[in-house]
Symmetry: C2
Subunit: 225 residues, 2 copies
Amino acid sequence: MILKEQISFLEKNLSFWNELSNDEKNEIIQYSFITKYNKGAKIYGSNKDCLGLILIEEGRLRVFIDSEDGKEITLYRLLKYDTCILSASCMMKNINFEINIEAEVDTNVIVVPTKYFNQLRETNSGAKSFSFELVTARFSEVMWVFEQYVFGSAAKRLACFLSEQAFLQNSDVLVLTHEFIANDIGTAREVITRLLKHFANDNIVSLSRGSIKIEDRKALQKYCS
Amino acid sequence: MILKEQISFLEKNLSFWNELSNDEKNEIIQYSFITKYNKGAKIYGSNKDCLGLILIEEGRLRVFIDSEDGKEITLYRLLKYDTCILSASCMMKNINFEINIEAEVDTNVIVVPTKYFNQLRETNSGAKSFSFELVTARFSEVMWVFEQYVFGSAAKRLACFLSEQAFLQNSDVLVLTHEFIANDIGTAREVITRLLKHFANDNIVSLSRGSIKIEDRKALQKYCS
């Protein structure tokens, strides 16, 4: 059972809330619960219970895969207002890969338990569309990471370019258009925009209108090397 | 417009066919069309039109990503009776990665055009569930390839093991349980089953009750090296 504050959070952040019947809304309210995770807590993985749909009220989660020998690859990060559906993937028919989720900072989440959410997905058209869109969005993010990992040249070139510019201009704040960078490193403007967003998501840069600020020189350098 | 033979193919292979109204069925029949691709034909990619949901009546398609410098990675293959949804991904809101599809042999497909299929996904609950399941299945396959690519040890060990056994037994037909192999190379039985399925899908081995036949020694060796 969740309280008034969380109900209003769900109303605002679950895109299909208005498509639910009153009964369905009441059931979500009744079945959902809030959980607090401390920084570093592993909240999902091979030895953990199937959790459910997670909404992040506050904090940050990292979703990653790991190898037998402990190597990790971050797939994406989830911030405040984001929703995680792969935390309910253990009960999805065709998903047979394992992911891990950990709290990168102290994190508060609202959990809609898998069993109830999966049932809702079957009966409510809005919840069904929502799930489809969320899964395709995550699929896209993973493809991006995959492509960077195996092809990876544009991200590398961008990182090198930004490092070089910061050195040349003796400043971490670079006033450059995406168009300009794209021309310089020989790719499309859209690619630069997408790459910068990913760098921003990883706290390597921060973006504001017309400028790029390098927040983590070391991480940027790592991309470039 | 498709003909009787194709209609019966759709009836059998579109899991949501029975959930469609007669009007919807008639619309699919009216809007869909058949296409024949010659071996090697590129049927989907960055410079091609958005196609639609594809059902493979006969033949084989390869779905892959490529880098700027022409490197390719196969994500999965589609065989007779398989359905491709990423060929309609150009009109899906959250999908922003590009895939390529080519015919590996002469291939006949039935195409349900994107515009009509997307509309059907909005209005028909069965088509919506079907899309979700198909996208999650492809997501899983891609994750498998990704994990093999970046971690890749179990597949390599399995390939080496099979090559070695074929050499030792002087036969391409190996009578071995998945359990036995799993114990030998130090992983779980489920992992072996999954890997063998992928090898079979890539025509590297063929599987029958209780035995594994090596069909492509060269490809197996490549995994092992």
